[in-house]
């Protein structure tokens, strides 16, 4: 601990968001610095690199108007922390964690570092509690469970935000007695998107915290906002035993911000210019989801990603898919057919689905039913390609049946407009469609009669 604040005026260089200071006597990696200049300019920054007395600082806010001669840099001897309290609920903050809703800052009962600490794998509790989203394509075939991180892979122009809004409105944990809250993290959103989401949030019954970084807000804040949000989430989930749903949109903007900052630091670019450490950086966010022993709460995360050029092998969806426990993929083709939500169930996957379904969790026939739907739909889709070559008439009766099944599956099971379906309705719908086509295997017929 230093006994007094260190103040310096020894600015050597400013370049964009980077500030170089000379002749500094004490500094820590990650230490918060406060920079002030003429005309009440005040910017926060963080120490990135120390080479003897020369310090490299990353600035967070707007740097326009800073003047090397009139600048004062204060080294605070603390690392970036987030104030925490139950009073956070219902509040809105910007990417520097300042209130956006016009209300004064709350009194913090605790401060914790924004970067967080890795969860010890042995302290984790296996995610296995079903979350009902009201969306058949998700609940039925790609089930979400508490503590999971399940991203939505969207493409530009697809109704990802409408899907998210619907999930927000309907998401509930079955028979949950615990408090539930949504943390909404907006990264580089346009005002149009922002107001859409805010409307949706205000229409839900649950409490929420919003951390907002708009498209024209400082890029560096885009990297900090999800970290603030997750620190808040950890506090609410693991200290106050709440179930937390963290919704982050849009992670593509986050990754672009990461690339921009990395480039400014003159780091070596990796694939498509994104830094080589993007996997670890994304993991440091996504891996904060989960449940831990001796705590009733949970953090479930739904990040939204807009795949550039609709390409699932682009580094952003690719690295995300390697870290998250599955993905919900939206399809342009289904959207053009008027299917809402346009979830393509074939490339979609929930890795934790098997843990969250079955008797006592959803329904005994869920697993078999999902497999049967998936299998026949996959066949039907495969046959669609064939249909394009040989025409419908050139196909066998059985194949034509599967084609019709695939069409009905898309139009009646996946497509549900704004109607929320309970898990039972979803499963019954699936049974009904299978039955229409005589695709219901015997074991499912029996189980149905038991129920």
């Amino acid at each position: 601990m230093r006994l007094s604040e260190h103040r310096y005026k020894t600015t050597a260089r400013i370049a964009g968001q980077l500030l170089y200071v000379e002749d500094v006597h004490a500094a820590r990696i990650g230490e918060v610095v406060k920079v002030s200049g003429l005309h009440n300019i005040a910017v926060d920054g963080e120490i990135l690199e120390i080479v003897k007395g020369n310090i490299l600082i990353q600035l967070f806010g707007e740097t326009r108007g800073l003047n090397a001669k009139n600048m004062e840099i204060v080294f605070t001897d603390t690392i970036r922390q987030v104030p925490l309290s139950g009073d956070l609920l219902g509040r809105q903050f910007n990417g520097s964690f300042e209130p956006l809703d016009g209300l004064p800052m709350f009194y913090a009962s605790e401060w914790r570092p924004a970067r967080g600490l890795p969860i010890n794998p042995v302290a984790r509790l296996k995610p296995e509690e079903f979350i009902e989203t009201g969306i058949s394509a998700i609940d039925g075939l790609n089930t979400l469970v508490k503590g999971q991180k399940l991203p939505i892979f969207s493409c530009a122009g697809l109704p990802a935000k409408e899907l998210v809004a619907q999930i927000l409105q309907n998401a509930r944990l079955r028979d949950s007695s615990k408090r539930f809250a949504v943390i909404f993290v907006a990264l580089g959103l346009t005002f149009h998107e922002y107001s859409f989401y805010l409307d949706a949030l205000q229409n839900i019954e649950s409490e929420f915290v919003a951390i907002i970084n708009m498209a024209d807000d400082p890029v560096m804040e885009r990297l900090m906002a999800p970290r603030f949000a997750l620190t808040v989430a950890e506090y609410l989930a693991f200290d106050l035993d709440m179930d937390i749903l963290v919704l982050v949109t849009d992670m593509t903007n986050y990754c672009d911000a990461l690339r921009e900052i990395s480039n400014a630091r003159k780091e070596l670019p990796g694939r498509r210019g994104y830094p080589g450490y993007m996997y670890s950086d994304l993991a440091s966010l996504y891996e904060r989801a989960g449940r831990i022993r001796n705590s009733g709460g949970s953090i479930t995360m739904i990040p939204v990603i807009t795949m550039p050029e609709d390409d699932i092998t682009h580094p952003i969806p690719d690295l995300t898919g390697y870290i998250t426990e599955g993905q919900i993929v939206l399809s342009r083709e289904l959207h053009q057919q008027g299917v809402f939500p346009p979830v393509d169930v074939l490339p979609s996957l929930s890795r934790l689905m098997q843990k969250g379904i079955g008797s006592g969790k959803t329904r005994a026939d869920h697993r078999d039913l999902a497999n049967q739907l998936y299998k026949n739909y996959a066949k039907g889709r495969e046959l669609k390609k064939l249909e394009a070559i040989v025409g419908r008439d050139g196909m066998s009766k059985a194949d034509q049946l599967l084609l019709d099944f695939a069409a009905l599956f898309e139009n009646e099971f996946v497509h549900q407009e704004k109607q929320a379906r309970s898990i039972y309705k979803t499963l019954d719908k699936g049974l009904e469609i299978l039955k229409n086509f005589n695709l219901l295997p015997e074991n499912l017929q029996e189980k149905k009669s038991e129920v």
Partner: protein, 540 residues
């Protein structure tokens, strides 16, 4: 051990790379960095200072904080008590860590990877007055179902003056030699140095994985290496975990390198519940987990692979058959890349350091069958998963591993999308161990093993070549012979090559594997006879 004279100060920090004014350290020496004594390693020596790599989150590390050398390399502690423990990349026991710091990992130091106070039953094998040298077993400790031999280390020899008996702890020496040298039940070994053995033997006998497609078409030999590259969602982790559960080896070392935390918690839970049919003990009793999830410090991820392989070699040296599963090597390579770029080294292909291939090959070379210093036969086999970006196998890590490994199990995104698991592509995968293992299967399972395999491959090849035609003309448009091949191939795919990891079918022994393929191919042969007969009839 050197003393406090080797203390210096931090003069610069960039990410996890720290420079100190301390000199006189040795390359790859272990160091303590900063007021919280973060673990680090010396990566390069300069005229007036030393460059260190810190293995923990460096935030908060400050200028002028102390740096201290330990005089020894980063080492792995080896001895009884490793089994069923979960370690992080630096071999800190995660359960003990959780007891100390709660559910989140704080950088703290724990004294030892092993519980030195635990009591063990020890049976001596030497007597007072015997002369012992490196490799001699002075006795063994019963560790679960295993006899864990205590072996005289390479640098010690002499006449036994005292040997312990009965209940012991690792704190006291188990044996004392006449010149005062003491032999403990545990020792440490620098993780980046391969452990010694008498001689290396070619791979022999299979590692039975219980996966039909692997054992039958692309088998792994004991002492060999298989790689499993696959894009996300192709089931790498499930495949690795299924093999970890069922493989017919003595000891399994599972390295979760840069992967998901939730998966690891599931793995522990399952391994505690499942019973190893060969020992009737929980599977966990034959397993050591080395876990560095993707959000744990990157540099420790780089070290985790070496911790795992050193543990594997240790059990090999005790005369066991060991299987090392690493998931995934790509995350290790990425850690290497991050470290390399923070050291400002010149990048090679895709930003990976140019020494990527040589590091990988020297790592893979640590697998093998050996005659141990005690004269036993032990083996270390490896199954390494690879996560190529975008599922593109032309990337450097897959390519470098292809050159050094013996079997290539290519996971196919299309197979995974059609829910065919394990999604191993049967056209492009290969195993170089087929010839070595031919005799084994012929003698131990059936003389038809090879014949059936080539028949199976023929059918699958035929399907591949007919597939496109069939898409256009439909199955009715094919000749009868070809139609038969297509239906049989379909059956091979659905009831032989695919296996559900969540049912009893998760493990299939070689005999059963043979029976299944025989029953399917019999249909093919019979069908062929019939159609041939018909053709002849028609010709008449």
């Amino acid at each position: 051990m050197k003393t406090t004279e080797t203390t210096g100060k931090i003069i610069s920090i960039s990410g996890a790379t720290v420079r100190t004014d301390l000199t006189g350290l040795t390359l790859f020496e272990r160091v303590s960095v900063g007021r919280h004594n973060l673990t680090g390693e010396v990566v390069s020596l300069e005229k007036d200072g030393t460059v260190l790599q810190v293995y923990e989150d460096p935030s908060g590390l400050g200028l002028d904080e102390p740096v201290q050398g330990h005089g020894v390399s980063l080492a792995t502690t080896l001895g009884p008590g490793l089994l069923s423990v979960m370690f992080d990349g630096l071999q800190r026991p995660l359960h003990a860590l959780a007891d100390k710091t709660g559910p989140f990992i704080h950088p703290v130091h724990l004294p030892s990877a092993l519980d030195l106070n635990k009591q063990w039953p020890f049976t001596p094998l030497v007597n007072k007055g015997d002369t012992v040298a490196a490799g001699v077993k002075i006795g063994y400790i019963d560790e679960g179902p295993f006899q864990h031999a205590i072996i005289v280390p390479t640098d010690k020899k002499g006449r036994v003056e005292y040997v312990a008996q009965g209940t012991v702890t690792l704190k006291e020496p188990l044996c004392r030699l006449e010149d005062g040298v003491r032999i403990f039940g545990y020792h440490s070994w620098p993780m980046r140095v391969p452990r010694p053995y008498r001689k290396k033997i070619s791979p022999q006998g299979p590692v039975i994985t219980g996966q039909r497609i692997i054992d039958f078409l692309f088998p792994l030999a004991r002492g060999g290496t298989s790689i499993i590259p696959g894009g996300f969602g192709t089931g790498k982790t499930i495949l690795e975990q299924t093999i970890a559960k069922h493989a017919d080896v003595d000891i399994v070392i599972y390295a979760g390198c840069g992967e998901r935390g939730n998966e690891m918690s599931e793995l522990i839970e399952e391994f505690l519940q499942l019973v190893d049919p060969r020992t009737s003990c929980p599977l966990m009793d034959r397993t050591v987990l080395v876990v560095n999830t993707s959000n744990m410090p990157v540099a420790a991820r780089e070290a985790s692979i070496y911790t795992a392989v050193t543990l594997g070699e240790y059990y090999r040296d005790l005369g066991f058959h060991v299987l090392l599963l690493a998931d995934s090597i790509s995350r290790w390579a990425e850690a290497l890349r991050e470290i390399s770029s923070s050291l400002e080294e010149m990048p090679g292909e895709e930003g990976y350091p140019t020494y990527l291939a040589s590091r990988l090959s020297s790592f893979v070379e640590r697998a093998g069958v050996v005659e141990t210093l005690s004269g036993d036969i032990g083996s270390l086999s490896m199954i390494l998963s690879v996560s190529p970006p975008g599922g593109d196998f032309t990337e450097p890590v897959t390519q470098a591993l292809l050159r050094t490994s013996g079997a290539f199990l290519m996971l196919d995104t299309e197979l995974a999308n059609s829910r065919h698991f394990p999604a191993i592509n049967w056209m492009q995968s290969y195993s170089l161990y087929l010839d070595i293992l031919a005799d084994y299967f012929k003698q131990n399972i059936s003389k038809d093993w090879e014949v059936l395999r080539s028949l199976c491959r023929q059918i699958m090849h035929k399907e591949e070549s007919l597939k496109e035609i069939m898409e256009i003309v439909g199955i009715e448009g094919l000749q009868e012979q070809d139609r038969l091949a297509m239906t049989v191939a379909e059956e091979i795919r659905s009831s032989f090559l695919s296996q559900n990891a969540y049912t009893a079918d998760a493990f299939c022994d070689p005999q059963k594997t043979l029976d299944i393929i025989r029953s399917i191919t019999d249909k093919f042969l019979q069908g062929q006879d019939i159609t041939n007969g018909k053709n002849e009839h028609e010709a008449l």
